[in-house]
Structures are given as C-alpha cells and as structure tokens.
C-alpha cells in the first residue's frame, strides 16, 4: 500500500510521518516514533495495554487507524510525567504496588487519567467500572485502588498548597 504523509500531534509535539493508510496508531507510536511505553497485549482491544488519550478520551490504539487521529491531540504514557518527575498517579502506583510486572501499567495509568479528568472524586464502584476496560494478571487490582486513592489525595494536597 502506498504511504501517505500525515501530521500527528503526540504529547504536545507535531510529527510529520509517512505511513500506510492502514497503519494502526499503536504501530506508528511504537515503531515510527519509538514511543514504546504503550504496549501490545492482544490484537483485538481486549486487554487495554495500548490505551492512549485522544483529545482526552481513553482509546485503545491497537484498533485505531493512525490516519484517523490527524488533527487530534494524542497523549501517551510518555506524556504523563510532569516536568521530568513522576506525576502523582505514577508515584502512587509505584509506592502502593499498583505495578508488578508493569506491562499493563501504562494502559491503566492512561485509563485512570481519563477517569479523573471526567470525575475527580470517583467512588470505589466508579473506579472498578472504569478499570474494567483493562486487564492485569499480576495484582488482582486491589493495590491499584489504593494507589488511585493515594494519588487523588496527593493531587488534592498539591492543589491545596497551591491555593
């Protein structure tokens, strides 16, 4: 298939890329842009390891055409760290054991980002429902809930200090 030139905005930076129209966003991120933080765990959007934000909405990049994301703002796990240090959610996932093997972690963190953007004070049931789009085989999810609670508390404390 003949390649086409597209412009993708990823983590706030523009990239001009020549890709096949059938290229999937995950492959373009991982192979063309070397952003390997988004993972491939399945091939059919059943595991969520490839989750990225497209205009703030959590999407599974393994079943999304890269060309369809032109003109949209894509955020990957590489764009989550703030000013070179860990974001609250990343720190909390480490401290509370939310990540074991870590393979599903980028996808989970993107899902949590999108949840908290929509609902800054989610109930336990809200969190469970939101995380059900992603699979983890190590943690049994429990320690992720603690991490998310801790991250919300840390963010709130940060906001309080800023005020």
């Amino acid at each position: 298939m003949k390649k086409e030139l597209i412009e993708l905005r990823v983590n706030g930076r523009p990239h001009e890329l020549a890709i096949e129209p059938s290229a999937l966003l995950l492959d373009v991120l991982r192979q063309d842009l070397q952003l390997t933080g988004s993972k491939r765990g399945c091939d059919d959007s059943s595991c969520g390891a490839c989750t990225v934000l497209v205009d703030g909405v959590a999407m599974m990049s393994c079943t999304l055409l890269a060309a369809s994301c032109e003109g949209q703002e894509i955020t990957t796990i590489e764009g989550v760290s703030e000013h070179g240090s860990l974001a609250a959610i990343q720190k909390a996932y480490g401290d509370w054991g939310g990540a074991q093997c870590g393979y599903c972690t980028p996808g989970f963190i993107m899902t949590v980002k999108s949840l908290l953007a929509e609902n800054p004070d989610p109930s336990a049931a809200d969190v469970r429902a939101a995380l059900s789009s992603n699979l983890c085989r190590c943690t049994g999810y429990s320690q992720m809930y603690e991490a998310i609670r801790a991250a919300i508390a840390a963010e709130r404390q940060g906001v309080a200090i800023a005020k």
């Binding site: 059919d44 796990i77 320690q143």
Partner: protein
Amino acid sequence: MGNDFSIIGKPTAMVDAAQKTTGSGKYTDDLSLPGMLVGKILHSPYPHARIKRIDTSRAEKCDGVVAVVVGKDAPNPYGILPVGHDEHALALDKVCYVGDNVACVVAVSEAVAERSLELIDVEYEVLPAYFNPEESMKAQTDLIHDNKPGNLEKDYHHVFGDPDRGFADADHVAEARFVANEVTHAAMEPHSTLASFEVDPHTGKPGRLTVWSSTQVPYYLQHKLSLVLEMPMQQIRVIKPLVGGGFGGKSEVIPLEIIAAVAARKAQAPVKITYTREEVFWAHRGRPRTIIDLKTGAKSDGRITAVNARVVQDGGAYCSYGVVTILYSGALLGALYDIPNIQYDGYRVLTNKPACGAMRGHGTVNVRFAFESQLDELAATIGMDPAEIRQRNLLQPPCITVNGLRVQSYGLPECIERTVERSGWKERKGKLPRGRGLGIACSHYVSGAANSIIRSDMPHSTVNIKIDRDGGVVVYTGASEIGQGSDTMTAQVAAEVLGCSLPRVRVIAADTDLTPIDIGSYSSRVTFMAGNATLRAAGEVKKLIAAAAAKKMGCDVEQLIFRDDAIFKKNGLGSAKSESAQTLRGPDGRGRPSPHGSSSSAHIESASVSGRVEGQILRGSLQQKRKDEGPKEWMTFEEAVVAAIDFHGALTGTGSYAPPLEARGGKHKGAGVGPSPAYSYSAQVAEVSVDEETGEVTVHKVWAAHDCGRALNPVSVEGQIIGSVWMGMGQALTEEMVWKDGMLMNPGLLEYRSPSSVESPEVEPIIVESVDPEGPFGAKECSEGSLAATIPAIANAIYDAVGVRLHESPFTPERVLAALRAKKNAKALNLTEGVDPTSPVRFREHGGALCFKGKGPERHALDPARREARSVPGGAD
C-alpha cells in the same frame, strides 16, 4: 539487634517502579536493532500429521523475504528437562498439535512476512489424534512419540506408610472423582525474542550470539540454545530485559526463542519474533487438565489416617515440565498436614494439544482443590467445624514427613487462627442467609526446589558484589525480575547487610555475560536462594570494610554497627555522636519514604542530609582531616569504603547458595521433586453468594493469611498474596481452555475470561511471619502458595451457601446449575438443545456440562459432569 532492621520489613517501592509507570522501561518487544528483520511462524492446522513435503521456494522468491527457516535448519531435539528432549524448534517430520511450529519466514516487515507465509506449501498426511488422556492411554498405534508406549509420558506409583491399614483404621472414608480443567498463564506480555550475531573479527564469520528474551530462565535458555545451535555456551549471551509477567509460562525454552536464533543465523541479520496473543495460547505450558480419584480416611476425632490419590494429567504433545508436575502432585500431599499413610499413582499422558508445563503453584493446585474439598466433606460427615478438622491434623515440626520432606518453620496454625478471627468465622459460619456462605481451605508451597532440574553440585544461586571508591554498591545477580520484585529484594538484602541506603545499591541482573549463574525465577526460589546468596556476598564485603574501619577507628570489628550509610562504634552511639547519627537517619528516623506514612518530601530531605553528595566532593579533605584527628567514633560509608580499598586493594564479594543435604528428600524413585529447604503456608476463608436461578457464583471477599517467614517488603508480599488469590479465583470461576477436536476455542483475552476489576473481590492479605531458620532474615516463599487454597475455599463456600459439592472446576453457571438441579432431583437442562447437531461432532470433548446427548464421547462412570448433570426420571420438573 533483634527486629530492628533499617531497610527490610518496610513497605518499599520497587527499584524499577518508575521505569514501569513512565513507560521508559524496555521489554523485549520494545527493543530494535539497526537492520533488524521480523520473523513470523507458520503453524500446523492439524493436531497430528506427518509432514510429507515442505516447499518454501515460492515464499523465498517474495520481495522482502530474506530467509525461510524449516526444521532441518536446526534438527537437534531439546526440552526443559534432561529426560524430556522431545521438542524441535520447527517440526522435522511430524506435527503434534494445532499450532505446532512448521516454518518461519524472515522478512523486512511483519506484513511481508505474514503474506508470504501463505506461499509455503506443506503437504500433510493426517494421523488419528488423541484429545482425552484416558482414551490416549489406550492407544496402540499412531503414537504421539514412538518411544512412549500408550502415550504415557511417565507414571509413578508411591506408597508411604501402610495405606491399607490406614483405611482399615478409619471411621469415615470419602471417595470421589475431581476434575480441574486446563488453565493458562496469559501473562500480559506476549513472548518475544530478539537474536543477533556478531561477526567474529578473526574468522570473519558469524561468531557470538546475543539473545534478548522474555524469559524467567536465562541460564537454561543459554544452555538449550547451545544444544540446538551447536555453539559453546560461552559464545551465547542471554539478556533478560523487563519481563511482563511469567507465572511459569516463560520458565522454560519456548519455541520462538530458538527459532529467532536459528533465523538470525540463516538470515545473517538481527531477527525479532513476537507472538500474537493467539500464538501465546498455543505456546501454552499451562496447568494441565487433571483427573483426580481421591480417597481419604479419617477417625471420628478428625485425624486423617490415610490418603489414596490417582492422578491423570492431560499433558499435551510434549514432555515440557510434565515429569516434575506429576511428581509435585503426589509429593505435595505431604508437608501441609500430618498424613501417616499415602498411596499415590500419577500418570502424565500425552495428547495432541499444546504442551502443558509449569504454572503458578506447579503441580499442587489441582490436587489441593480435590483434597481440601474432600476434607470439608469429611468434616461435615463427622460433624466437625471445617477449621477445626484442619487444626486436628497439624504437623509437629521440626519433622520429616512420611514422604521424606523436611519441615522446619510452620506458620499454618497461626494462619488458620488469624483467618478464622479476621473473617468472623466462628460467629458467621452457617449463619449467613441462604445463598451466601463461607468456606475455608489451606495450602502450601516450596521455597524453591531443593534439587535442580539439571543434576549437578553447582550452587542454585550465586551473587557478586562490587563496591568502588564512589561508595556505590553494585550487585550482580542472575536472578530474573519478572514483576515479582526480585531486583528490589536483592537490593534490600544487600543494603540491610551493609547498612547503606537503598538508592546506593544498583542491581545488574539476568545477563549471562555479566551475572553469575542463577537457575532462574521459578518454583518460588528467588527470595530464599538468591536472597541467601546476596546475604552471603554482602557479608563477605562487609567483613572487608569492617576490618579496615576497625583499624581506622581503633576498635574490634565486633564493636562496629553498619547502619544509615555510616559505621558506628557500638558504645560511641550514646555520647555526642548520637546527635549526628540521628541526623543521618533522616527526619522520620528511618531515612526511607513509605507509602504508609511519611510524604515524599521526607525522601528528598533525607537524601540531602545523608552526606552522599557532600561526601563525594569533600572526600579528599575529609580524609585528610580524619587522619589528623586520630581514631574516630564513626565513619561515613564512603570513608569506610575508601579505607577498605586502600587496605585490601579491591572491594568485591561473592556468595552462593545450595540447599543443604538434609533438605533434599528421600531415596525413592522420584524423590527429587517436592523437597524444599522451606515451605510457605496459607489459610484462606472465602465468602461467596450463589444465585440459585442462574447458577452464578460471586466471591465477595477472601481473607488470606500467608506464612512467608519474614516479609522483606510488605507491599510486595501483600501484592503477591492478593495476586495469587485472584488468579486462583479465576481458575475457580471463569478460566478454562475449551477444546474442540484439538482446536482451542477461546484463544483470546476476552474469550479466556480472566477476571476484570468488576468481577474481582476484595482480598484481605494477612502476613504471618514464622521466621525460617535458613531463609534470608527468615524469609520464605510468598508468590505461589496462596493460589491453591482459593479454589477449594470457594468450593467449600459454595457448599456452605447452597449445599452442593462441585467436583469440576471452574464452577461455571452451567456446572453450578447442573449440581443444584441434580440435588433437587430435577431434570438436567440440555443447554445444547437446538444447536445444529450435524456440524460439531463434539461440542466439547471434555469439560462443561455442554455435551450432546449420545453424541459426545462416553464419559467415565465417576465423571463429575455425568454425575452432577444426571437426569432423574420423574424429577421435580
């Protein structure tokens, strides 16, 4: 110092946590090399067939295809066990399961490789295939492997004590057939391997090979690559990048690892192969479907008098870890309870399905499900509390069990006590509303096998430590971090021994060129064995530092205390220097951040006052100052290191671990599997509800107490307990590999039904510390032992809720409903009614209640599905 540890026992974020949460950490598939090609594998569409002809010429002519690899490019057989060298990287003349590896195309891109796979012509002669182990055992012709008559991989017949007398002495005997269906690891990271040859500068030909692979066992991989490629081991370097979960699925050599290396040699370029999710299911090596005919005898006071188990495992097409699995199933009947008489007959059978291997709780899980369910049944018969019957059968350690297992630390009594207490067992058991119930079960597991699968006297773990003038501690270990926290444990143990802070320690792991041999991350051996090796290596280095420091400080080495990045004189702490010692400890008195208390700012503060930065800049002048001042009351870690290097030359230490002879088991055939230097113990209570209309089971909460000896990192220990319980729950309720004529019907993460966050219960982990006499700081296993108790705890809770005993896992709605209807004497539902009966000959050859009446295979008279789904004429409806 007692329990006054400064590093271990504190909840600690994993040393590689930031790599994982930022996405910067590299797993094998994230790596690429200049000029790298992609390999794609052609798999067999038949479960059992002879390959008459392979023609790869059309594929080879394809633009973009660099090489096509077939079986004869690497004809040497291999297998993880020395007794089971029955695999070939690519099939030579026969394929043995749907998905068996036939050829590999190496091309410039995945798309080109995939397209050209279709251009390979393979002519097969289809052979009769075997899918059911009990049918397979009767085979006379068309054997799966010619040297295995009756398709029997291996059988063992063990008698310990006098089982006949034991049963004669029993007041109550329970007997039943249990079936545990096949499950797989489904680790989130699909297997991936990147192989690359270097050109030898002297010969100008391909020389050294480097392989990056998602493996739990780099050393075994190096060994098998050497066998197949006919290269000396020292010419092969295996590097394990981050691994996205293993659970046993990466604890042996998986075909793609060999194929990638063979392909790289033929294509003369680096080659990467990454499995698709479907290929991961075919690679499998999971927990075999197991048929357990179990008989247990007990006295009226609850004491077990004898156990007789006949276990048949559906092993798939190759040996894999099979011989070990079937031995574990029998051996681990011992070492949990005091059972005086055991008879065990184990059969590992070959079938035309992907090979089964080691999976979390290797060998023990399915038999434990049967045993703990039957023990519950006996308690009900006797009229005894199920928790009490377990307490009546405790071992009295230290002891050697009837089958030769040495038990020292034994936290089971406390595990039972604490789960009973935390779950409100005594107040609530039997008193919950109808449809809701509590169940208890126990389990145990080895802390590493006392005998390596490769018979030799080599240590199971070796660790090297190097400290240089910068005061940095580098630990070299072959132990494989696979997400369980191996690297963090190593760093913690080294830091605790040396009295230094964690950021000072750098762990270099699992690179066969750099790190000494460690046999890998499996059978829960790393904390115990690599931990002990680290302890000894750090102890060696500490001795050297202490000798130099004692000289500088004008005291005996016995008087020195290593702590908080400094070395103190034992008696010097009380005086003026105690102030500086306090400062060094950091504002929270511990010098480490903890997610359970202090904030992250404390970490930064403690780092800046620890003297690391200051120490480096001012080292020269400080040394000069100290020299002028004469003997000191205390020294910083850097000063002591510099003194030690000046004194001894180099500062390195090495330590290794081999299990003691007393822990290596008895002398009978097969006695090598089961013995361990220490066993972990677990007791669990599950609370479930059962919807009697739909048969759906919901697990509300699991209380899980686990004796891990000592929790070196409580966050990780809790994470491992919760993860094990959760995985056990998956096997208990939803996970099952469903087959039709050798085809896997659910090779995807949605269809395989691993529980999502919505279906996952709260798990309350309860850490029990029995402090093992031989474990590093008393630590034992914590990653596998809890899994086995979950399945029977749920089964027993279902019985408590609705009064039916389920003998076949997973406890799907169909099975629960069938059991409920059988109990009510109601007619069994035919769930396949209306499905086109002409198309599938067998809807499922085993498992599930979904079987065409009269069309499926004849079931064994004791098959639970047959019994539970039994239709009773003139039933209630």
